[in-house]
């Protein structure tokens, strides 16, 4: 089967330590052109999986490949895949420019890329400062610069939004979306669903080293959340009766005496029923449970099952 040269593939990937199975029979593919979010709670096996893609850790069984190849089989891997696993992973006494110069030289990348990449991440003014003096946010930017200096078709970022201020988060998001729009393969991990909703097109969700979901974000939302209509009325009992007559089951909100939820219906429909019954509505809206809730439910039920 021909392999897409710019996709990441995990085939029945397993990583077992003495007392722990960190990654358990994981298979998925990360494709170019979209931002793929790699989601899982802390300790789910995300970093271990990313390390196996990069050849840092050896799988117990299965394979993690880049376009069907291992990194050691590529003459200049940094031109194929760029990664930032740990933003702090840079020698504290070396300047940002020297750090990038060493990286560029190793991949036979022209030295002009150093200044160019520093500009891209907005560190031009700090080029000659030791990386140890950088804030975590600046280290994130330097880490991203390290990943991008070889102009790779595939980028892997582990928790890239950690430690960034709101402006930095917005910057990193648009950077990742831009990289994907250029046709690159973008995989980034996070333990926060909220970060995924605004950035990812596609989700790979793991928990306890197992795959929970591998689908487009929109499909994930459709599959795992239900749209409900929320109504607020001074006459909750009356509205429940009216809805019941229309064959709809209302769920009273236990937290609020004048509120109820109805599933599988539109706001128009509920509004009409209330009008016909002559019931006053003070609020009528459509709500979805948050993806954060879905994710928490998903991972907590999974915990019980395990």
């Amino acid at each position: 089967m021909p392999q897409n040269p710019s996709s990441l593939q995990a085939h029945s990937l397993v990583k077992r330590y003495r007392h722990l199975t960190a990654v358990n029979d994981l298979s998925f593919e990360v494709r170019p052109g979209v931002v793929t979010g790699f989601l899982g709670p802390n300790g789910a096996g995300k970093s271990t999986t990313l390390r196996m893609f990069l050849g840092l850790d050896r799988p117990t069984s299965g394979a993690a490949t880049v376009g069907g190849l291992r990194l050691a089989e590529m003459p200049h891997p940094m031109r194929i895949v760029g990664a930032m696993l740990d933003a702090r992973a840079v020698h504290p006494r070396r300047t940002a420019a020297d750090h990038l110069a060493a990286v560029a030289r190793a991949g036979a990348v022209p030295r002009s890329r150093v200044a160019q990449t520093l500009g891209l991440v907005g560190l031009d003014d700090s080029a000659n400062r030791p990386a140890g003096d950088f804030s975590l946010g600046m280290k994130q930017r330097l880490g991203i610069a390290t990943a991008l200096i070889g102009d790779p078709g595939i980028v892997i970022f582990d928790e890239p939004l950690n430690g960034l201020d709101p402006e930095g988060i917005r910057w990193a998001r648009s950077l990742m979306r831009g990289l994907a729009a250029e046709g690159r393969t973008v995989l980034f991990s996070s333990h926060l669903m909220g970060e995924m909703e605004l950035t990812a097109d596609h989700l790979v969700v793991i928990h306890h080293g197992r795959l929970l979901a591998d689908q487009p974000l929109s499909a994930f939302i459709a599959d795992h959340t239900t749209e409900r209509v929320r109504a607020r009325t001074p006459d909750r009992r009356g509205l429940i009766t009216a809805l019941d007559r229309a064959g709809l089951e209302a769920v009273p909100d236990t937290a609020s005496p004048d509120r109820l939820d109805v599933a599988g219906v539109t706001t128009d429909h509920v509004g009409r029923i209330a009008a016909v019954a002559g019931i006053e509505l003070s609020e009528l809206s459509s709500v979805r449970e948050s993806l954060e809730d879905v994710f928490l439910t998903m991972t907590s039920t999974q915990k019980k099952a395990a």
């Binding site: 050849g55 840092l56 020297d98 030289r105």
Partner: protein
């Protein structure tokens, strides 16, 4: 070649490298000088039959070796401490090649350092001996030249040994502990061990054998070059062991 240039940028762009290199030169010369000054009175009173003006000039290597080994070790340990090793291994996933490159760059820096350290140590020591009216080394003598070359070689081998220990221990303090044990403690204690164990350890222990290579008076059953070879083989094996460790262990 690209990787070699990259590692060169890395080693030259941190000040620790140059502090340790300069430290090796200064400490080697100073300790040699102190050793000679301390014994000068005894030598005036009674010059030993096996007095070795060349070997006496290199006593400071005992301490200098610790610094140059640390210089070698930190090429890896500083990367393990900061996590930079992750980036290095992603960029250069062929680990044996990465290690060979670091060994080569370290050996190069160590060679320049060792030449300076040996030259300075020799010059100040000989000047002190001459000023005190004691016998000095004869630069026209082949054994003097051989001892100087072996002293340089010994320091370079120690730096390479440092790289290997840095890989195996992954920590500067761990590597330092091993270097001090192998380079100072065992050579100091081994001759005191009883009987044949003491004889063998006092002669064939790699650093002891290596240190005998830069004297001009035969001290034991090993010739100078054989002693240097023992140290060389030991360094080679340790380097191969380190390479195997690096290749098989998760980063």
């Amino acid at each position: 070649m690209d990787l070699l240039a990259s590692e060169w940028i890395k080693i030259r762009s941190i000040r620790t490298t140059w502090i340790l290199a300069l430290g090796t030169v200064v400490v080697t010369a100073m300790v040699s000088l102190l050793g000679i000054s301390g014994l000068m009175a005894d030598w005036h009173a009674h010059l030993p039959a096996d007095f070795d003006p060349t070997g006496s000039s290199f006593k400071g290597i005992l301490v200098g070796q610790i610094l140059i080994a640390t210089l070698g070790a930190q090429t890896f340990t500083s990367e393990y401490a900061s996590g930079q090793i992750i980036t290095s291994l992603t960029i250069a996933p062929r680990r044996a090649v990465l290690m060979a490159t670091k060994v080569a760059v370290t050996a190069l820096v160590a060679l320049a350092t060792a030449v300076l350290a040996v030259a300075c140590s020799f010059v100040v020591s000989q000047a002190t001996l001459a000023a005190a009216g004691l016998p000095t080394a004869d630069l026209g003598d082949a054994s003097t030249i051989r001892a100087m070359l072996c002293a340089v070689g010994y320091l370079v081998l120690t730096a390479v040994l440092g790289v290997a220990l840095g890989v195996i221990t992954r920590s500067s303090s761990g590597a330092l502990a091993v270097v001090v044990t192998v380079g100072l403690l065992v050579p100091a204690l081994a001759p005191g061990l009883p009987g044949v164990v003491g004889d063998i350890a006092g002669t064939y222990w790699p650093t002891t054998a290596g240190q005998a290579s830069y004297t001009t008076v035969d001290a034991g059953p090993l010739t100078a070059l054989a002693g240097f070879a023992v140290m060389g083989v030991f360094t080679l094996w340790t380097t191969l062991a380190a390479q195997l460790t690096l290749r098989t262990r998760d980063a």
